[in-house]
């Protein structure tokens, strides 16, 4: 059985359809990428898995339905979420930002802090610093780190490279590689196809709220339209 299974997912904002008939699954320890342009429905899809939006269809995580569960219960089931644009709490220190993420999992705070600092040594150096003095890349690391404080089994990354310089994307990429090695199950929603291809074993193309193509990077690369629209070749 898949670790995360999304079946016939539909999300409406009023009368507007944001997600239509989306189905995909992720096996444990694998990385899946959702590639789509602005407004394709990537964030709505991740928000739905986290229980922030009202949805129809079915989402099964680790053998249990997430239907009607509030975000608190879903996060308690070890779903970690790093929202887009390195969302942080600017007026708080780096360490306090991480500790807000640990509120629902306070049993292993020291161990989890050590793990995050091992993953992102820059955050350890900056732990007493106000978060709004961090660079864009460091903010993204902090947002990722906050998600890891919950010891998630599934990590959802919403546009982790958005607005970052190539060298910083390299740092984020290294972090994702090390997460994969550790055995995390990862769901990446990205516009940046090259970043997603590098990590995801399976990629889904999301357009106007619907999945229009699925496959490995190699398989999708054979489609001329996808190559031109997303891979830039």
């Amino acid at each position: 059985m898949a670790f995360l299974e999304v079946k016939d997912l539909e999300v409406y904002y009023g009368k507007a359809c944001a997600i239509s008939n989306v189905s995909f699954s992720i096996d444990e320890g694998k990385c899946v990428g959702i590639i789509g342009s602005n407004g394709a429905g990537k964030t709505t899809l991740l928000d739905s898995i986290l229980g922030i939006t009202n949805w129809r269809g079915e989402i099964i995580f680790n053998g249990n339905s997430l239907r009607k569960l509030p975000p608190r219960e879903i996060v308690k089931r070890k779903v970690g979420y790093a929202p887009e644009r390195g969302s942080i709490f600017p007026g708080m220190s780096v360490k306090d930002n991480l500790l807000v993420g640990a509120y629902l999992n306070r049993s292993n705070i020291d161990k989890n802090l050590a793990n995050v600092f091992e993953l992102f040594p820059r955050l350890e150096e900056r732990q007493g610093q106000q978060a709004d003095t961090l660079s864009g890349g460091e903010r993204q690391m902090l947002a990722l780190g906050r998600a890891f404080m919950l010891e998630p089994k599934l990590v959802m990354l919403d546009e982790p490279t958005l607005g970052l310089a190539p060298i910083v994307i390299g740092h984020i990429s290294e972090a994702v590689k090390s997460l994969k090695k550790t055995g995390f199950t990862i769901l990446i929603a990205e516009q940046n196809a090259s970043f997603t291809i590098e990590h995801a074993e399976m990629i889904h193309i999301l357009e106007r709220g619907a999945i229009t193509a699925s496959g490995t990077a190699e398989e999708l690369g054979k489609e001329e339209y996808i190559r031109e629209a997303y891979f830039g070749t």
Binding site: L50, I52, S87, F89, G91, Y103, L104, Q129, T133
Partner: protein
């Protein structure tokens, strides 16, 4: 994050403040103490407003609703005239807790549902509730004394010195209690809600539960301030309890002191009270409030963190000097 029971070291400034306040009655005249009493109450009201608006970012214009409701309930139940009928007159140790409970209950009934909307919408709804309560108190004249309010209420203690001890004790108890909450894990989440509520939600935390907690704490504090203030003054009226200048003083005290800090509103409460009192003979009526508004604007313009920010910066400067240079991690 700091544990609930913080180290003795972090209490050292509280001890200094308590010692200074304990010495005051022996070296200043009763008239000065009476200003301190008013400043203590203003500090309590400002801390209460800070817990709700400064911490969660929900700017309330209806805070006197909570203060006035607590004061009125205790006043009506303890008033010699009592209800008309059946002439219920209860002792203060019964009416004051009931007043505080009324602030929490009334606030939860009216304010809490409004916290589902954000920004100016919440502020306007809270203002509307304040105006409605004010009108109700005027309309229900048989119980509330109408426009003139209730007078000749029983006092808890009499004399400037006794009231100074009482108000100072309450102010410190409230301040240390709220300060400990602010330093706890819950306090950090409340600050995070002010900065980005959506991100807090995405961490799986129900922001509504935290806001409700902050609101209840704020209402309890407002209620405590309201009942003690009412029985210090010995009277309550719509013009005093629901006046917009009173609301303005509470907000300005918090903003000038430093929002979201708990300690800042104490500085702010003392500043506003002493400023308005010391300029009473120099400036008349509206000019006095214009002067203090200008001073408040200047403070917020040049140092948005208020007095707390100024003190924080000075302390950081001394720490840096002791270490031999400003550290990067001290940038705020």
């Amino acid at each position: 994050m700091v544990n609930w029971i913080t180290s003795v070291k972090s209490f050292r400034w509280w001890l200094v403040a308590i010692v200074v306040m304990m010495v005051l009655p022996f070296i200043v005249p009763p008239s000065f103490l009476r200003i301190c009493i008013m400043a203590n109450f203003m500090a309590i009201f400002a801390m209460s407003w800070d817990m709700m608006s400064g911490y969660t970012g929900y700017v309330s214009f209806g805070h006197p609703f909570l203060i006035g409701l607590a004061g009125y309930v205790s006043a009506m139940l303890s008033h010699q005239g009592g209800f008309q009928p059946p002439h219920i007159v209860l002792p203060l140790y019964v009416t004051m807790p009931l007043g505080i409970a009324a602030a929490v209950g009334g606030g939860m009934l009216f304010f809490l549902p409004s916290m589902r909307v954000r920004g100016p919408y919440f502020s306007l709804i809270s203002l509307a509730f304040l105006m409605i309560l004010s009108r109700i108190m005027i309309a229900a004249g048989a119980m509330t004394g109408g426009d003139r309010g209730l007078t000749s209420l029983p006092y808890l203690v009499t004399g400037a010195v006794n009231n100074y001890w009482l108000s100072t004790g309450i102010m410190f108890a409230v301040a240390i209690g709220l300060w400990l909450v602010a330093r706890s894990d819950v306090g950090h989440v409340l600050k995070a809600i002010r900065m980005d509520e959506d991100v807090v939600e995405s961490s799986g935390l129900s922001t509504y539960r935290f806001k409700r907690f902050a609101f209840i704490l704020s209402a309890i504090t407002a209620g405590i301030g309201g009942v003690f203030y009412t029985h210090y003054m010995g009277s309550i009226s719509p013009a005093g309890a629901f006046d917009y200048i009173f609301l303005l003083n509470i907000i300005v005290s918090t903003v000038v002191g430093g929002m979201g800090t708990i300690l800042g509103p104490i500085f702010g409460g003392y500043f506003i009270t002493f400023f308005t009192e010391s300029t009473r003979t120099l400036l008349e009526g509206a000019w006095r409030f214009m002067a203090y508004s200008l001073v408040a604007l200047a403070i917020v313009y040049f140092r948005p963190g208020g007095f707390y920010g100024i003190v924080h910066d000075i302390a950081a400067w001394f720490r840096a000097k002791r270490r031999g240079g400003l550290q990067y991690d001290q940038v705020t």
